[in-house]
């Protein structure tokens, strides 16, 4: 491996500091892939490589519609004294209808969450059964994500030449996924306590009383305490979720360079090639292994300038840089 690496470098008289191990990645049958190849590939804005299954696309659609409905019916109730609240409520047809819609939205969200759990558990089970399961391709956070974040910040301020090689889900996606999971759990639990205060007051003190010593939590005041907590958490968590959604998720997904005006992945389930290589390089390597067409495309692209599988020795001192690459469609 080391020898082929040496020979591969020969035709490219690149600056000394680029000769770090990470710049070229060797893939069998394809060749040496430079880290900044994403600048020279052709992408379809609608997406090239499968990222989400149809289940996930349906779940995302159901989830964001139910979330927006819940937020727009719940916020005017919480902020009932501000001027716009009655207008929003009258848009929904009065407070009683708005409450009904809020409950329907909540049920939709819970069902979607169940559906999602079922999908990922079933999918994982199938993958384990086929022995295809790879922990690195899941949403489970690893220590590498922290290093990736530090690496990425270094790149953004100019201390690193390239972005880290990341898996299918990068650090911010994992963070957001955990945040959404936690938020849905809290909102569902607190919302159920607000919807059925009498049942919550009956069940919780009994359950908690068995776990905690009675001196720690006053048995009498626990129902009241939990209701207060639910009131606080339901509103605060919803506002937090809405702010993160509006000021971060939307901008991050649709308004950053390269993704404007719309990233179609949430509808098509596909990611563009350059995005995959830039932010999810290790997943792209998996794609090369799994998709023959993609392997063919990348081989053709690399062969143009002699970076393909080294059957013969490349000629001496062939002066060219990556920017000379033509774009192959």
């Amino acid at each position: 491996m080391a020898t082929t690496f040496e020979t591969a470098l020969k035709p490219f008289p690149l600056p000394a500091e680029t000769e770090d191990e990470g710049y070229y990645t060797y893939v069998e049958e394809v060749g040496f892939i430079p880290r900044d190849i994403f600048k020279y590939v052709a992408s379809d804005p609608m997406g090239d490589l499968q990222r989400f299954s149809t289940h996930i696309v349906i779940q995302h659609t159901l989830f964001f519609i139910s979330f927006l409905v819940l937020a727009s019916t719940g916020l005017p109730i919480y902020f009932s004294d501000v001027f716009w609240a009655p207008y929003v409520i009258s848009f929904y047809g009065g407070i009683d209808i708005a409450r009904l819609i809020h409950k329907i939205g909540a049920i939709t969200m819970v069902i979607t969450s169940m559906y999602h759990l079922l999908t990922i558990m079933g999918g994982t089970a199938i993958k384990i059964f086929r022995k295809e399961f790879d922990l690195k391709r899941t949403q489970i956070p690893r220590l590498k994500d922290l290093y990736d974040l530090i690496h990425d910040i270094k790149y953004f301020i100019g201390l690193e030449p390239y972005r880290p090689k990341m898996e299918k889900f990068m650090y911010k996606q994992k963070f957001h996924y955990i945040a959404v999971t936690y938020g849905t759990f809290v909102l569902t639990a607190a919302g159920s306590a607000l919807l059925f205060p009498d049942i919550a007051a009956k069940l919780l003190p009994q359950t908690i009383g068995k776990i905690l010593p009675p001196s720690m939590v006053g048995a009498q005041s626990f129902a009241a305490f939990f209701q207060d907590l639910a009131r606080l958490m339901h509103a605060d968590e919803a506002i937090l979720a809405l702010i993160v959604l509006a000021f971060w998720h939307w901008i991050n997904v649709h308004f950053v360079p390269g993704r404007f005006p719309l990233q179609w992945a949430f509808l098509t389930g596909k990611i563009t090639r350059e995005h995959q290589i830039e932010e999810h390089f290790l997943e792209y390597l998996n794609n090369l292994k799994e998709i023959p067409e993609e392997r063919e495309y990348m081989t053709r692209l690399l062969k143009e300038k002699g970076l393909g599988p080294l059957e013969e020795k490349p000629s001496k001192q062939k002066k060219c840089t990556l920017s000379d690459f033509p774009r192959i469609n």
């Binding site: 680029t18 009498d198 606080l232 360079p257 390269g258």
Partner: protein, 361 residues
């Protein structure tokens, strides 16, 4: 002579409008003693000894539509014995018997029963109350103003058909009154919306200066604020008829028996409050009644709640600022590297790079 179409339409319209106009006949008020002879004049007013302007005009149209339209003036203003009468010094006593006898009742009608209940309640004037309290306590008219009793338009189901059966035995005028009175209350829980009830109670209980003068407890002083913070208050403010308003909890079906919480008769007394909650929350038990109906602000309550609130706030601002900061940093870094906003001709890395990356030195 040929009659033009326009003329026919004109006459038809004229007949229609006049029929409409004259068919509307207002119910005549029971003004047997002709008090309106003087009181119908708008200028029937004077400035009294204290310099206050007083108006004695009675608007007949308005009075004819009020609930008291069938009661003659002297049924309430009993102290008037001759015409022209002396200057009025007394106030009307709503507990008076009036000359109307309700169907199936032996006695003449009177509000005495409810007034007795009211006088026993927290709002009733007790002989040993201080003068400040006596002045502040509301009388009948404080809440029951005539404008509130004006007719509320409502959808009637088979109104005429139902009434027609009543006429078989009963005289028409009495039936209409009784029917309207009862069915109106049946269709709406009260004649006032929840929002109006809260507004009415807030008139005094939301007036902190007055409440401080009356030396009410700390909880009572903040009652309006805490109610508005509760989900009942929020829903009522947005127009809900299902959520609890003030009198749903603080009074029984008699509505006037509002008592302080240490009074055994009070609906909010410890022994009775569970029944009050069970009006809506069917499974309410001994635990449930501890839940704060008038929740205090988060920062003045339970220390754990306070801690959770602060940490949630910090988490909110912290995460949002950090995420947005990272987003800006990422955008700037990628822009510097040459990423363009729009994907054109299959790439976002077109055109000149703004600055060379360290690779291409």
């Amino acid at each position: 002579m040929k009659i033009s179409n326009r003329r026919i339409i004109f006459w038809l319209l004229w007949i229609g409008i006049s029929a409409q106009l004259f068919s509307v006949s207002f119910a005549k008020a029971a003004d047997k003693e002709n008090c309106l002879m003087c009181h119908k004049y708008r200028s029937n007013a004077r400035i009294d000894e204290t310099g206050k302007k007083r108006n004695f005009h009675v608007n007949e149209k308005l009075y004819n539509r009020s609930v008291h339209r069938n009661i003659s003036c002297r049924d309430c203003h009993t102290y008037i014995t001759k015409i022209p009468h002396d200057p009025v010094t007394q106030k009307v006593n709503c507990a008076n018997q009036c000359h109307i006898r309700p169907p199936f009742a032996q006695e003449k009608f009177s509000h005495k029963k409810i007034i007795d209940l009211y006088n026993e309640s927290a709002h009733g004037v007790k002989p040993d109350d201080p003068q400040v309290l006596k002045d502040a306590l509301p009388n009948c008219k404080f809440c029951h103003l005539n404008p509130l009793y004006t007719k509320i338009s409502e959808k009637r189901v088979a109104y005429k058909e139902t009434l027609a059966r009543c006429y078989n035995c009963h005289p028409e005028s009495g039936v209409i009154m009784a029917y309207k009175h009862i069915t109106h209350r049946l269709r709406k829980r009260t004649s006032r919306s929840s929002r109006k009830i809260v507004k009415l109670c807030t008139k005094c209980h939301g007036d902190n200066v007055l409440m401080k003068k009356l030396n009410v407890s700390k909880k009572a002083l903040r009652a309006v604020d805490t109610y508005n913070r509760s989900v009942h208050g929020k829903l009522v403010r947005l127009g809900s008829q299902k959520a609890a308003n003030c009198i749903n909890c603080h009074a029984s079906s008699a509505l006037h028996d509002i008592n302080k919480r240490d009074n055994k008769k009070a609906t909010i007394n410890k022994d009775n409050i569970m029944q009050v909650c069970r009006q809506c929350h069917k499974n309410a038990d001994q635990m449930f009644i501890n839940i704060a109906v008038h929740p205090e602000a988060v920062h003045s309550g339970n220390p754990i709640i306070k801690l959770v609130s602060i940490s949630l706030g910090l988490g909110m601002y912290g995460s949002v600022l950090a995420l947005v900061g990272l987003l800006l940093l990422e955008t700037l870094g990628r822009r510097k590297d040459g990423a363009r906003l729009l994907l054109k001709r299959g790439t976002i890395w077109y055109g000149k790079q703004k600055s060379k990356s360290p690779k291409n030195k």
